[in-house]
């Protein structure tokens, strides 16, 4: 029996470590390769083979800064709009009786393939005579990010006890003050988390941007173009650069959420 439990533990841990390797190995290999893409066929043997020339070349490109700027613009707009909408969804959800149907309506876009979403939006925009621009991309991205942001927001709202709102009302606060003083401060984590999701999902999205952007190039579109051409190895440097930023953001998010978790723990 003891041997059985130990075996099961071993199994679990092996799976866990393999899973984590499986998640990280390709990314880290790419990071390594980005310093010397010419050595693609084998693992670099020592540091002298590393080179940062591809990184330097990267930032001498003409179209790249524009694409990065577009992506950030679209990402920020998406984040702001998404977090507002998901906040309102969170507020409505509290009052609603048919919660699971409402949730079903809200998460519907998660189940629509990106290409179909892109197609239906571009057709729709044509119908109401709106020309492609970064704003149509933002529209597409909000539609894409909203379910995820809403779920994050709803999770933080689920930790909000009706009692504290009633207490505020009891002490003389009207609906708005109760929101400002109590609801918002206590769900801030989820609302900002939703915004972060919006930003990241927008930044990483390709297919909707591709069909909705018109002539405006986002980072994803730029990279897609570069990779299809298969021309310049500085694409690896760009990938390594973005990967580093992703890792940094995840670290920040983990620390932030473990802080939230911690402080909400000490609440109960």
């Amino acid at each position: 029996m003891k041997a059985g439990t130990a075996l099961m533990k071993l199994c679990l841990w092996t799976f866990l470590i393999l899973t984590i390797l499986f998640i990280f190995l390709p990314s880290f290999y790419l990071l390594v390769i980005s310093f010397e893409p010419s050595k693609l066929e084998r693992i670099p043997r020592n540091f002298s083979e590393f080179s940062i020339k591809w990184y330097i070349r990267l930032f001498q490109r003409e179209r790249l800064p524009g694409a990065i700027k577009q992506s950030i613009m679209v990402g920020l707009l998406t984040a702001v709009i998404t977090s507002f909408l998901s906040l309102f969804s969170g507020l409505s959800y509290r009052k609603l009786r048919v919660k699971s149907y409402f949730l079903g309506l809200l998460i519907f876009p998660m189940f629509v393939p990106g290409i179909i979403a892109a197609l239906s939006l571009s057709v729709f925009f044509k119908l109401i005579n709106i020309r492609s621009s970064i704003y149509t991309v933002v529209f597409g991205h909000v539609l894409y990010a909203l379910p995820y942001a809403t779920i994050v927001t709803l999770v933080s709202f689920s930790g909000l006890k009706e009692g504290v709102i009633e207490a505020a009302r009891d002490l003389g606060a009207n609906g708005f003050r109760a929101f400002k003083d109590i609801i918002f401060p206590l769900t801030r984590g989820g609302i900002f988390g939703g915004a972060l999701f919006g930003f990241l999902l927008s930044l990483n999205e390709f297919i909707r941007a591709y069909f909705l952007s018109g002539w405006q190039e986002t980072l994803s579109i730029y990279m897609f173009g570069q990779m299809k051409g298969g021309a310049d190895p500085s694409i690896y440097a760009l990938a390594g650069f973005i990967l580093s930023i992703s890792i940094l953001l995840v670290l920040i998010a983990v620390v932030y959420f473990s802080f939230i978790r911690h402080s909400s723990h000490s609440m109960s």
Binding site: K161, G163, V164, E166, A167, A168, R169, D170, L171, G172, A173, N174, R177, D181, I182, P185, L186, S263, S264, S266, M267
Partner: protein, 364 residues
């Protein structure tokens, strides 16, 4: 309309339904100025719903709620002159003790200094000097309880509502807080309306107790009246321990009154007016039944078998059975009796017929 006899709270034919479920049914109740009234009942009896309707957190389905003479059915909580101490306290977890207590003062048009001074005084009132800047999340259960009290009291409400105010505390602390709440009530002179399912708490703290069962008001009276003269079978059984016999009146009120239950005859107080043949219940408290020598002089006196004796510290509880197998519990001082000496044996018990309550049987 403002006069001294006007009740602080007047509930008239209050009803509350949630879908098919009837939570409160036709409840009419007055709370006098400065009174400590407790709503007491089993869980699910509608007592909390009633308190929440007074506070403004639930809308009555029917009936009216008057607070200090004013109809408030449609007023939100922030427009009522009640303050609530919630069952789970509902302190604001992101604020300090001072911010929690000061929150209600924000809506009274006071400047920052006045707010702080009032909050400090309220802290002193509940015995928490020096905790003004502490995070509420770092407080102990008893301290949180006191902060919730201070937060409600600092705004000097004429009526304080307390929803199971001591439910979360452990035995020793609860008892201390009971005394403190009662003192606070006497000191402030405002009306307290509390909800509890704990009878001892209700008996100890209240000026009057309203017993609620299945959404209906069973009886509202002083603790002594409730305990010694319950008006319904439910109240008799719910409050304290009660030995209840069912029987029939066998002598009418012209002479001595007697009750026949399952073959045995019991004397009952003549003040109760029943007629021969009435179906009634007789209730006698375990602590009013004497045993051994003390029985002398009581008309009700029986020889019974001791089934079991439970030691309870303060007292011992005898489980006895009559010759007709009717069972009863008796409480006696634990000092003078010993388990091994009595169990299984015969003893004499008895009680003064004036210590019994006789009620008409409720049709079930």
């Amino acid at each position: 309309m403002q006069n001294n006899t006007q009740p602080d709270i007047y509930l008239r034919n209050l009803c509350k339904r949630f879908g098919d479920i009837i939570a409160v049914q036709n409840l009419t109740l007055e709370v006098h100025k400065g009174e400590f009234l407790t709503l007491l009942g089993p869980s699910g009896s509608g007592k909390t719903t009633t308190l929440r309707m007074i506070g403004g957190f639930e809308k009555p389905t029917e009936g009216e709620i008057y607070i200090q003479g004013e109809l408030v059915n449609d007023k939100p909580p922030n427009k009522r002159s009640t303050r609530t101490v919630f069952q789970d306290l509902s302190l604001f977890p992101h604020m300090t003790v001072g911010e929690n207590i000061g929150y209600g003062l924000l809506f009274q048009g006071l400047n920052k200094n006045d707010r702080k001074n009032k909050a400090l005084k309220a802290l002193e009132l509940v015995g928490l000097e020096g905790l003004y800047k502490r995070k509420v999340t770092t407080l102990s259960g008893g301290q949180k309880q006191r902060v919730a009290l201070a937060r409600a009291l600092v705004t000097q409400p004429p009526i304080l509502l307390l929803d199971e105010p001591l439910g979360a505390l452990d035995e020793k602390l609860r008892e201390r807080m009971q005394a403190e709440l009662k003192n606070l009530h006497q000191m402030l002179g405002i009306s307290f309306i509390a909800v509890t399912h704990n009878q001892e708490e209700a008996l100890t703290m209240s000026d009057r107790i309203a017993i609620i069962n299945k959404g209906r008001l069973e009886q509202v009276a002083t603790p002594r009246e409730i305990y010694e003269n319950p008006k319904t079978e439910f109240v008799a059984d719910f409050i304290g321990l009660a030995n209840i016999l069912e029987g029939e009146i066998i002598e009418d009120n012209t002479g001595v009154e007697k009750l026949l239950s399952n073959g045995l005859e019991y004397f009952i107080p003549t003040k109760d007016k029943f007629n021969k043949g009435d179906n009634v219940i007789l209730m006698v408290r375990p602590e009013r039944i004497a045993i051994g020598d003390k029985v002398k002089g009581y008309k009700n006196s029986f020889s019974v078998t001791v089934r079991n004796i439970l030691y309870k510290g303060v007292c011992s509880e005898f489980y006895i059975s009559f010759d007709n197998d009717q069972e009863m519990r008796i409480r006696v001082e634990s000092k003078s009796f010993w388990q091994d000496r009595f169990t299984g044996g015969k003893i004499t018990i008895g009680w003064d017929e004036r210590d019994t309550v006789v009620l008409k049987r409720e049709s079930k």
